[in-house]
């Protein structure tokens, strides 16, 4: 059992999120030079939404890499190159099959950012649950269909989600690079202002609503969430212990009732519900080993 002075699990998660954000963005000279990291490890996709044009990013964003793969598919096929995006699809599948959407709750810098912004005091709103279906629309249309179908004369598609939607790109790359690089500043036009306006809109939503981007827009969350019901990491609720007091809902960063569906695609597996449940009804398992997480409950 944990002592009462032990740090609360939510604090541990926050530290983990901060450390992960820093680890993914550890090339700090980029912020001084206004240039991005160009080392050979940049081709490694991180299982989180972290723009590869962030000045300090060490890895590649899987959503951007996926769009690039789909956007180049028709050209590659026309010239006989066998490049189908298997590396990115396979990597996301491996992460999803192992832990489902757990990276959203523990390592995604943009998810962490949304949780921090949501701490700003304000009236808080609930997002209607049907909004969660929109992220599949963004995935199907902006990440898959448009890059594949709308191509230039050479057969190249664009990264539509990055270009028109992604507020993480604007926050992590657009604002700092334009501020630091005078050459890029000279190219600013309508698209830039559109993306900044969209970022402002999301920022307002983040203050009012818990993780709105993750729940309604994020294509990576949509992909990893599909694995929640069949991954090695699983959540479970003991119906005999659960009294439906909704303490878990109060703490949940994505506003779900875990007892309605323990492995719902909306769950980011932050484990706050495990710590907030006074009755020990919520548990998780990995590789068949079930953990009620005594220390988590004791600390909550």
């Amino acid at each position: 059992m944990a002592s009462t002075s032990k740090k609360k699990p939510r604090d541990r998660r926050a530290w983990f999120q901060a450390a992960s954000a820093l680890a993914m963005n550890a090339w700090l000279p980029g912020w001084l030079k206004g240039r991005i990291f160009q080392g050979n490890i940049k081709g490694v996709c991180v299982p989180a939404l972290n723009c590869y044009s962030c000045p300090s990013a060490l890895g590649a964003c899987p959503v951007g890499a996926l769009q690039t793969s789909f956007g180049g598919l028709r050209f590659n096929l026309s010239v006989g190159q066998k490049k189908f995006g298997l590396y990115v699809i396979g990597l996301l599948g491996v992460v999803g099959a192992a832990v489902g959407r757990l990276p959203c709750g523990w390592i995604c810098p943009f998810g962490y950012f949304q949780e921090l912004v949501h701490k700003i005091p304000s009236p808080k709103l609930r997002m209607p649950s049907f909004f969660s279906y929109f992220r599949y629309v963004f995935l199907a249309v902006f990440v898959v269909a448009l890059p594949l179908l709308v191509v230039d004369e050479f057969g190249f598609g664009q990264t539509w989600f990055c270009k028109w939607i992604c507020p993480a790109g604007t926050l992590e790359a657009g604002l700092p690079l334009v501020a630091l690089n005078s050459g890029l500043r000279a190219l600013v036009g309508f698209m830039y202002y559109w993306k900044v306006a969209l970022l402002v809109l999301f920022l307002v939503a983040m203050v009012l609503i818990r993780r709105p981007f993750c729940r309604a827009v994020c294509p990576l969350g949509a992909i990893l969430g599909l694995f929640n019901k069949a991954s090695l990491f699983r959540m479970a609720v003991d119906d005999e212990k659960c009294v439906r007091c909704d303490e878990c809902l109060k703490d949940c960063p994505v506003g779900i009732r875990i007892y309605e569906s323990a492995d719902t695609p909306d769950c980011i597996r932050c484990l706050k519900c495990v710590s907030s449940c006074k009755y020990g009804a919520v548990s998780y398992s990995f590789l068949k080993k079930r953990e009620v997480a005594e220390d988590l409950r004791a600390a909550a």
């Binding site: 991005i36 990291f37 160009q38 080392g39 050979n40 940049k42 081709g43 723009c51 590869y52 044009s53 890895g59 590649a60 964003c61 951007g64 890499a65 690039t68 793969s69 180049g72 066998k82 490049k83 189908f84 995006g85 298997l86 590396y87 990115v88 699809i89 396979g90 990597l91 996301l92 599948g93 491996v94 999803g96 099959a97 192992a98 664009q158 990264t159 990055c162 270009k163 992604c166 790109g169 604007t170 790359a173 657009g174 690079l177 334009v178 890029l184 190219l187 600013v188 036009g189 698209m191 830039y192 202002y193 559109w194 993306k195 900044v196 694995f227 069949a230 991954s231 090695l232 068949k288």
Partner: protein
Amino acid sequence: MKRKLPWIMLVLFGGLMAAGLLLGEYKVVLEKAVMVCLDCIGIG
């Protein structure tokens, strides 16, 4: 079957990832990632 499904998926997707790496897709991602993505920053 339900218990085996995650392992089957791990092997399947691990195989896809390995195939992608063998086909040189790491280089495709790397080439994109080391260039400033003008689309991402709203200048594309």
